[in-house]
């Protein structure tokens, strides 16, 4: 069937099909464009880095009495800014002489370990955040009373709560049917960061339906629960996805900081701290592990973006087919 036939009400399936195909084409084109932009920015950054190194080195040689590079501009020597090729080469070098495992594999394994903490932290944060939003949207009083505390919770530095969570996890959770491990405490530390954007944005999203829509629901004699499920929650989806993206990156940060703070072995935080302490003798190793952390953050963000597209595609199809 052709597009022209779509005026016939019986061919809405064909229209949906067409829309789906169009959607997919757009998605592929966008994905390609996105990757191209990302890669070209990477190249630009690499040039900027290398260029600054060359420029800094030249200035450094020339400067005598009034140092520019190294005073208000960062140093550009190989210890401060290792050559990019050295950093790339370090990926395949084993950190231990008699152990064949290259650094890249260590970083990959550590990234998986941290991803597990971040993912658990993300989900607990999403559940907690949506729970809080749903609770607060019910009552103006509750919203006014609780909101300041939610904000205040984010001003407590992680370093203050991390040891408490770790010790609590080790001493108070032996009644659980499974063994509580330190990485789960780190996930809780990440949760502490992730619930906040979800709760705040979720609440905004639940409040987002226009008053006339809410009144319409009231005129149908819908219960608050029905209004929540049929109007408020669907309306909050775009707000929630903004929050999810924030939460995903913050979960990675929280997991890494939690590991550093609590000394949990196996993840990127521990690896970064380890190599930071030995920076003088191998700055490339730290750069590689930090690059791993950056990649993990981008991956987390990308996963959420992908899932948003998946959900949005479903909505578009529904609006066409109904």
């Amino acid at each position: 069937m052709t597009i022209g036939a779509s005026s016939d009400p019986g061919t809405s399936a064909a229209v949906a099909d067409e829309v789906r195909r169009y959607e997919r084409r757009v998605a592929i084109r966008m994905a390609v464009r996105r990757v191209a932009v990302f890669v070209s920015f990477l190249v630009v950054l690499a040039f900027a880095y290398t260029g600054y190194k060359a420029f800094g080195g030249a200035i450094d040689d020339a400067q005598t009495e009034w140092p520019v590079v190294g005073s208000f501009l960062p140093r550009s020597d190989d210890l401060t800014m290792p050559p990019l090729l050295d950093i790339a080469a370090e990926v395949s070098v084993p950190p231990q002489r008699n152990n064949a495992k290259p650094l890249g594999v260590f970083v990959l394994e550590a990234a998986l370990f941290t991803l597990r903490e971040a993912a658990l932290g993300f989900f607990l944060g999403v559940i907690l955040g949506i729970g809080i939003a749903v609770l607060l949207v019910r009552s103006k009083w509750l919203e006014r009373g609780v909101s300041p505390y939610i904000v205040a919770s984010q001003t407590i530095p992680l370093v203050a709560i991390a040891p408490i969570v770790i010790i609590w996890g080790r001493t108070s959770l032996d009644w659980l049917p499974f063994t509580w491990e330190d990485w789960m405490s780190v996930a809780l530390i990440a949760t502490y960061l992730t619930f906040f954007p979800v709760a705040v944005n979720g609440l905004r999203g639940l409040h987002s339906p226009a008053p006339e829509d809410v009144e319409l629901m009231a005129s149908y004699a819908a219960t608050p629960n029905q209004t929540l499920v049929r109007l408020r929650l669907p309306a909050s989806t775009p707000y929630l996805f903004v929050a999810f993206k924030l939460a995903a990156t913050v979960a990675v940060v929280g997991a890494i900081v939690g590991e550093i703070s609590a000394g949990v072995r196996g993840g990127l935080g521990r690896l970064i701290l380890d190599f930071a302490g030995r920076y003088t003798t191998g700055p490339e190793r730290l750069y590689v592990s930090v690059a791993g952390a950056a990649a993990l953050g981008i991956l987390a963000f990308g996963l959420v973006t992908l899932s948003q597209r998946f959900v949005r595609a479903a909505r578009v199809r529904e609006s066409v087919s109904t």
Binding site: P95, Q96, F113, A119, R230, I260, G263, R265, T280, T281
Partner: protein, 395 residues
């Protein structure tokens, strides 16, 4: 209402799928636990130094909180696990690594660990604040803290620090330096410029500071693992001047084994466990003294990103902090304790000298006696430093 249900179910599906990703990541490897290795192996140490000769049927679970990460600084404990020394005395020891914000004394007091490794001042300060802990063994008899500078700075003694930019780590790591400055008649407030230093030696090598704080077993070696851009070779000990606080006389005691004081008094089983734990730990240190190569391998296996030559250097220097132990390994030297307390009180780290029971020697003495009767050398007069060849990057 089809309109919301389908997209919402997709949302739920997405969340579910991501949750499964999380669960899948979970199946990789187990983490902090380093439990006793297989059968005890007595090929190198001739006699078994166990209080009980046959492994007892019921094993006691013990957790040890370290002050920092796996490295040769804690080699004795890792060796005791690996060589089955703990197992022989009926202990199943789990070693917990430290973290940036983990205070071993607090972890110990909370009950989240049975024993902890901590520097003496870092145990005494929380003890003064009310934590119920006590020092039961003092393996490190010397301080490892140095102030390192390049030869051309001409800092050969404490008095040469006058007018210089002096790096230190802060957070309680600076007291030997402060006391040392005062002992040379310098006022730390006005006569030197004290700056906070990172836990690497970049500031010294870049020339931002004239003298840097360094542990002889760690940061000092890092300088020697760095290529000197002027020569193209690694920096050599001859390129450096070192102020050693042991020589200046302001050294403070470092790694000690701490236990829960109240539990020792009230729980005879815990006290018995403490004796066994100290005995097997000290046996681990004796093993590392007599078998440094194998001991480094144990550390490297426990910390697979650590550099081999760096850890070999570290163990050599750690051995120098322990051996010789004239009173027997792990027994507190009263004079060094008094010196530590003197500095701690005069530098106002502590408000007052610690109350009675801040350290006890009976547990360590019992452990040492057991080791001695098993024929082990608990003093180590014959121990000598070996030459460790450092390679670039400490690899």
């Amino acid at each position: 209402m089809k309109r919301w249900t389908r997209s919402s179910s997709r949302l739920a599906l997405v969340l579910g799928a991501l949750a499964m990703v999380a669960a899948a990541c979970g199946s990789t490897d187990d983490t902090t636990t380093t439990t006793a290795a297989a059968a005890p192996d007595d090929t190198t140490t001739t006699t078994a130094a166990a209080t009980t000769t046959a492994p007892p049927e019921a094993m006691t679970d013990v957790t040890l909180q370290l002050q920092w990460f796996t490295q040769s600084q804690f080699a004795g404990y890792y060796a005791a696990v690996d060589q089955g020394f703990y197992e022989e005395v009926g202990l199943n020891v789990e070693i917990l690594e430290g973290g940036v914000d983990i205070v071993p004394a607090v972890v110990l007091d909370s009950g989240a660990a049975d024993f902890a490794i901590s520097w003496v001042p870092r145990g005494l300060v929380p003890r003064e604040e009310g934590l119920d802990i006590t020092n039961i063994a003092q393996p490190f008899q010397r301080s490892a803290t140095l102030q390192v500078s390049f030869k051309d700075a001409g800092i050969t003694g404490v008095e040469d620090l006058a007018g210089r930019t002096v790096g230190n780590w802060g957070f309680g790591n600076e007291f030997e330096l402060l006391a040392g400055l005062r002992s040379a008649g310098l006022d730390p407030e006005t006569d030197v410029e004290l700056v906070q230093q990172q836990f690497d030696m970049l500031a010294l090598i870049s020339g931002d500071i004239d003298a840097a704080q360094a542990m002889i077993y760690n940061e000092y070696a890092q300088v020697l693992e760095t290529v000197n851009p002027d020569t193209g070779e690694l920096y050599q000990p001859e390129d450096l001047d070192v102020i050693n606080w042991n020589d200046v006389g302001t050294a403070m005691l470092q790694d000690a084994i701490w236990a829960d004081e109240g539990r020792l008094a009230s729980d005879p089983v815990y006290r018995e466990t403490a004796v066994k734990f100290v005995e097997a730990s000290l046996r681990g240190w004796i093993y590392c003294r007599d078998n440094p190569g194998s001991c480094v391998d144990i550390v490297l296996a426990a910390g697979p990103t650590l550099g081999e030559s760096h850890q070999t250097w570290q163990l050599n220097e750690i051995n120098a902090l322990i051996w010789p132990s004239p009173l027997g390994v792990g027994i507190m030297d009263q004079a060094l304790w008094d010196q530590t307390i003197d500095i701690a009180t005069s530098e106002a780290i502590l408000d007052a000298p610690p109350t009675a029971g801040a350290f006890i020697t009976d547990i360590a003495q019992e452990a040492v006696d057991n080791l001695k009767s098993a024929g082990l050398d608990v003093i180590g007069n014959d121990w000598q430093r070996v030459d460790v060849v450092l390679v670039a990057g400490g690899d």
